[in-house]
Subunit: 516 residues, 2 copies
């Protein structure tokens, strides 16, 4: 058994059964080993950003670690942006990056690059296998690292000779270390703080989608009189009818300043301290009111359900979940007439089946569409966590691979979708049940807004040339069909509803273009 | 004047007049400053790999440094692979990467990332502006760095507050330091070595495309009796009729072992020591014959023409350029009948105008096509220098921006083109005179070959799933049209010749799909 075979067997024995791949020559022995193990599902992405984004979506919806297969330093570079998003989503990913044979690295060859340097710029864990006999242990350690602390980016660099030389027996990844809990004194202090007027409990992580954990958070809030809050950006949230209601932060700094104005004590359980997405001249980085007591009880790398359970223990018997704690079901009627984003949202809310996984990277178009979905049938809501657009389509791929029985709905701006449009082909190749809606406004609309924020009022030629995707406009129907995905452009609310209903009724990838 | 304005004025004053851009919010003040200076040509790329690849092609054909405008760490990550290629091509590029305001970095926001870490993994020069008053000097230093040592990757990280706070007066980049020459004793030793039997002079850099320098190298070879050689991968080569003939290395290790078998002394002037692209089990990393004396006289970062001139001085009066030193003109007839790669090459050779810039990323299809071009009208030949496929289309964009009066011909494999297909839109947007030929073999053919090289003979399901772009096949006509580029798929040699002749006769982007 060579090193590559020992790695494939180690991954399989450790429960890694999907590999999002874009291989090159230095990974050829690993490819050959994968070929001997068809029980590893290898999914080709035609660009590496598709692999890392898919691994992110797969982890979020399955809780399982996937592997990516990446070529040397530049291939990893192409995966970098969506590894950044995956890192911010706390997704566990094992990257297998090939490298030249260790003895070849003393010579200058075209693909020689800083494999360790680029990995360390994004991975929580990086290791280069020193020899073939170490590969199995290194692979097991990588899987363990990826599963640790609620999910990490682990990158194993595999010099070609460690893949082809004699390896050792496969290993099984050890379980990740137990997650940390806050000390009892901090739990007690947090409970006391929540009982003060103007207190809020902000949760994140599993508390946003696991119903038992969400209920626990809501009952703690009810018991203490605190507001229950959630961040704007969350890796995964249960939304729509039946989900536990939480007050969510907004994207805009000014809105968050208003939302947090009355909060005197903010207890964070899994959530990061609210922070402006960007800094703006003359505005604060933190939206909290001056003087707010912020208690960072548990960060996202700790045991969130355990922390909530410890708080509950500290409180004593909790009240039942309040009657109005869950979002009601309220479906809008099917819209008619001229297209608008709100009508698209209404049609989606009316038609979307229970348990749809919605991946939202629609940026400026997302908010009007999301409104009617608040009371739609219960669904999952995934967003791009690191702000690096181009995650939407790949995340949808990974979510669909994780949940073949669920419909995936990918909402994307046209600008966002262009970064990783190659994922459309993977949707077609794998027959993934994804309906992609492209909001085609022919511009990076958010940048126009941000330009106003910095005080520019009369945009000129260079702004127009850099912000607007016109002359020519993109033809998304052609782009989708070029990748093998059936597509239609709609020009009325009825046409959207018809196309969307058809997509909900059929299996497999579809794309709908909404001019807006 | 804020820091951003001082930077734009510094770039312009220093002769940087093109900016390949994919901006985000943290670069908004820089965008506003660019907007006030329409004399800076801002060219939007819908994916950052397009910006870095274009800057590479622009430098190779103009010798001038372009700027790229990139968003934080993930945006830079998307540019990484083509920065790797640019680095290996010795292209000068100034990256302007935004970052959060320095005071915002203490908080966790979604886009916070290792800007310095990822830059240092690929750039020769990295600097983060410390405050707005330093930005002009930093920008001038970046341009100087990019122009140094025949071309470098220089990355200036611009925290948002250094862009919006008060800057200082613009600066002008100082000239780069003089290039180094080998000591006289080494020159003399090299000349003596070239006079030995079995000697070869291998040149690179400007010696491959500047006619005066190439002549000088050929006359030195004639005077000493040495073979004149060139590497397989070169950032820019003059080829076709009238170009100075040199014996070129091949891609394949075994071929290079044969080519170099008789070389007893190899003098390198600008060229790197020949090295296998990858290591293979049981094969050497270096193709040279055992015992070959390798003299690394001047590396690619030194003064190549100056080194050749010093060698000429050492030799004394040189013979005239030998009568057969230049490639003759010999155009094949227009082909007919069934399509083949050789016939495509013949049609191109027959029809391609003088001074066409050919960008070749056709990988396995490239060699058969290139054959007939050896005696076509004189042209430039650019290849992907770092082995990271996805450079072809962006390099063509940059070359066309650099040479608006010349026809650019981009030869690309379908697999390669998929990495950065968004560059098609930039071709359409800018009306670039580029004819792209996509060799659509529906597979990463080179990987099938490499798999055979590692001994796998019966590929199974996972190899097929990872190597072949079928089920579905890509529709390149639709993909091109979706980006706004006119396209046609041909099914015979005549159809190719007709489509290619039409493309050569018209201005603006075209795409021809060659099934193969």
């Amino acid at each position: 058994m060579n090193g590559a075979e020992s790695l494939v067997k180690t991954l399989l024995a450790s429960g890694v059964e999907v590999c999002f791949a874009n291989p090159g020559t230095s990974e050829m022995h690993f490819v050959a080993a994968l070929d001997d193990h068809p029980e590893m599902r290898c999914i080709l992405c035609l660009f590496e950003g598709g692999t890392s984004g898919a691994a992110d979506g797969y982890f979020r919806m399955s809780g399982r670690v996937a592997a990516t297969l990446l070529h040397l330093a530049p291939g990893f570079g192409n995966a970098f942006a969506n590894l950044h998003n995956a890192r911010k989503a706390q997704s566990g990913v094992v990257n297998v990056m090939g490298d030249h044979a260790s003895y070849h690295l003393r010579h200058e060859s075209p693909l020689k690059g800083e494999t360790t340097g680029i990995s360390q710029a994004i991975s929580h864990w990086t290791r280069t296998s020193a020899d073939a006999a170490q590969v199995a242990a290194d692979g097991a350690a990588a899987v363990q690292a990826a599963r640790s602390l609620n999910g990490q980016i682990a990158t194993l660099i595999l010099p070609a000779n460690t893949a082809w030389e004699a390896g050792s027996a496969p290993q099984v990844a050890a379980p990740p270390p137990a997650l940390r809990l806050p000390p009892a004194a901090e739990i007690a202090a947090a409970v006391a703080a929540l009982r003060q007027p103007g207190a809020a409990l902000m949760v994140d992580g599993v508390a946003l989608y696991d119903d038992a954990t969400a209920q626990l958070a809501a009952r703690i809030a009810a018991a203490t009189g605190a507001r229950l809050m959630a961040p704007f950006f969350a890796a995964r949230s249960r939304r729509g009818a039946g989900s536990v209601r939480m007050q969510r932060l907004a994207y805009e700094l000014d809105l968050n300043i208003a939302i947090l104005a009355d909060v005197k004590t903010l207890v964070l359980c899994g959530a990061q301290r609210p922070t402006a997405f960007f800094a703006y001249p003359g505005k604060p980085s933190l939206p909290e009111a001056p003087g707010t007591a912020v208690m960072e009880l548990a960060d996202i790398r700790m045991d969130i359900p355990g922390t909530l359970a410890a708080m509950a223990d500290c409180i004593g018997p909790l009240p039942d979940l309040p009657a109005d704690a869950r979002q009601p079901l309220s479906l809008p009627p099917l819209p008619t007439g001229a297209l608008s984003l709100e009508k698209v949202g209404a049609a989606i809310a009316h038609l979307m089946p229970e348990d749809t996984v919605v991946v939202n990277e629609a940026i400026t178009s997302g908010a009007p569409v999301a409104g009617p979905l608040q009371t739609a049938r219960g669904h999952e809501w995934l967003v791009t966590m690191g702000g690096a657009i181009g995650a939407g389509l790949p995340t949808a791929v990974g979510a669909a691979v994780a949940c073949p029985e669920r419909k995936v709905l990918c909402l994307s701006g046209d600008g966002s979708a262009m970064y990783t449009l190659q994922s459309l082909w993977t949707m077609a190749r794998e027959g993934l049940d994804i309906c992609t809606v492209i909001f085609a406004n022919d511009t990076y609309r958010i940048l126009h807004g941000e330009l106003v924020n910095v005080g520019a009022t009369q945009p000129g030629r260079n702004v127009a040339r850099m912000f607007d995707m016109v002359e020519p406009s993109l033809d998304w129907v052609a782009l989708a069909q070029g990748h093998g995905v059936q597509a239609v452009r709609v020009d009325s609310a009825e046409a959207f509803a018809t196309a969307f209903a058809e997509a909900m009724g059929a299996k497999g990838p579809r794309l709908i273009v909404v001019p807006c």
